[in-house]
Symmetry: C2
Subunit: 355 residues, 2 copies
């Protein structure tokens, strides 16, 4: 995707090429995005020639399925040495190089510099993130399909919730339904019941589902694109006060979404949320939302200090929450595709459901 | 674990403290190892004082469950700024600092240096890995328990294999069984059937299981410790030649394990494997094995160039494979706990099983 735009960025910055790499098991999101390649190796995008992938021998067959046609295999133990010799053979100039400093370790940089002694590097992390925050038509098609899957899976989980005995089993159901369709989850599902719901990132435990609010936070990856949704249900019978606080948060969430506008200021949207939460705002301990794409957390940032603006074809979450330590937690999260108006990609019912 | 040993390394290197951090979703293995903490934040281990964790507010409740008693919350947007002010308040000297350069990005380093202008850093990546490769009695207890779970799950999957229609469903079963017990997988399970088995890192697809060899590579995490095992089964009826090549590889794998000795040279063990594979060695495209612990790939390395030596209480894999591109693939992998003799942690049958 957007190799042309990346080359534009290289041109503007007078760079000869961009270099992204991944060693080990964690895919580099820029390689996922620009090459649709998930494995170890390096992606080189020269300003003038076509891009190519250099991958360990064992990944070669997999690399053939990426979007990049020029492939080379490397000796993984001599990572940057292999890259250097292939680039030399191809007469690719590597003097001014764009890299992603947020995904480049100090150790890799040391090894890189041994090979490319005269290279000057420029950080393209933000440029890549900015490129990725506005989705293309093609991407939106993929993203919609991803959310179709995700919506169906979480709906099925909520429908079956009564049959789950433990937090772990509820989480296992979500992963199983994803896996059956050949999909990865975009993060380990969160099932947080009872007091556990007061921890926004609680990992599901092999314990009986507790009475009270239960937070279900779930996402899948489809063709490299992430989804994100949270619903809070109630196990047992909520008191009137509990119904009220859920309704209070839901109303705030809906209003925030309804008021999203092109060019809206993300910091301001966060502020509006805090204002609406009134006395509860001190129990809202995370950002209001984030972009979703090749990574689960991308631009824009919907936080207090954010200067980001809402633009057409952005995909991002709105997820206010209230977490009273050791008591309970509620979070309601939708992912929005911003067109002229905000469109919900997550079309799962939000009224308080009791099981 | 081993905070005392880490402090010893700090002393030897004349360092004031070690600093490990994680931003985002990927846990830092050293934080997992030294603190049993999986979230975002920073772990500071001063040479003279007790260690502490500084975590975003939303992770505070989770951090309480780590092994570290001194906790502070930080503003995630001002990551190193928050750390600096907490360290100042606690009068922790931060002039000579040990870090893990393999898990420290250039971007984080830039932000770190803004706060700790006079700090000199020293890479402790290798020291930490070396510390982690020899397991303590306490760790071995945890690791054995982890393998008990993993062995049961893969045995159940193989037993049920006939009922799986697709690669994805077989993978989903493995994840589901893990999740039900409240366990994460240590990597996305590999189910590679037919030609797909010729890609060592093939991701299971939503396609019908193909006839022929089928590689099943699976691991779980229990209390932060990884497991790793691969079995290859046969879907349909193998020819005599196929039985022979499987038996050939299995024999090599068993011999390699039987001949493991304390102080054995890892490069030499790899060489012995290549020799035994004869003409097939060119179809063996990855390392022979790797340490397993807080990370799925740790020290020792069993590769050609490795200078590592086998020591008591190391935990590592032996996993020769044969991959004929576009035809088939076989891999047999066990994880070994080295005591006076090699002990298999993976006690799942290895004779060729047909389904």
């Amino acid at each position: 995707m957007k190799i042309k735009e990346l080359k534009g960025i290289l041109g503007k910055n007078k760079l000869d090429a961009a270099l992204f790499y991944s060693i080990g098991m964690t895919p580099n999101p820029n390689m996922v995005y620009f090459a649709q390649y998930y494995g170890a190796g390096a992606l080189i995008v020269p300003k003038k020639q076509s891009p190519f992938l250099i991958v360990p021998e064992m990944e070669y067959e997999r690399a053939k399925k990426s979007m990049i046609k020029k492939l080379y295999s490397m000796d993984k133990k001599k990572f940057f040495e292999s890259i250097n010799s292939i680039l030399k053979k191809n007469k690719i100039k590597m003097k001014n190089i764009g890299i992603d400093k947020s995904a480049f370790t100090l150790l890799a940089y040391k090894n890189f510099k041994k090979q490319f002694k005269k290279a000057r590097t420029k950080d393209l992390a933000l440029d890549c993130l900015k490129l990725r925050q506005i989705k293309t038509k093609e991407e939106i098609k993929t993203i919609k399909k991803a959310f179709d899957y995700a919506n169906k899976i979480i709906t099925a989980a909520i429908k079956n919730f009564k049959s789950f005995k433990t937090e772990s089993k509820a989480a296992a159901f979500l992963e199983y339904e994803a896996k059956k369709l050949g999909l990865e989850t975009s993060f380990p599902p969160i099932i947080a019941s009872g007091k556990n719901a007061s921890m926004p990132h609680h990992m599901p435990k092999n314990i009986k589902l507790q009475k009270g609010f239960c937070v279900i936070d779930f996402g899948i990856k489809y063709k490299g694109y992430c989804t994100d949704i949270t619903r809070t249900i109630y196990i047992g019978k909520p008191t009137e006060k509990e119904r009220q606080i859920y309704g209070f948060l839901l109303n705030i969430q809906k209003n925030l979404i309804d008021n999203l506008k092109i060019n809206g200021n993300c910091g301001k949207i966060y502020e509006n949320c805090v204002k609406a939460l009134k006395n509860y705002s001190k129990y809202f301990t995370h950002g209001l939302g984030h972009g979703v794409g090749a990574e689960i957390h991308e631009l824009p940032n919907l936080t207090l200090s954010s200067k980001d603006k809402i633009k057409e074809n952005m995909v991002f979450t709105i997820e206010p929450g209230i977490y009273i330590p050791n008591k309970f937690g509620i979070r309601i999260e939708d992912t929005i595709l911003m067109e002229t108006n905000p469109n919900l990609l997550t079309n799962v019912a939000k009224d308080l459901l009791t099981v």
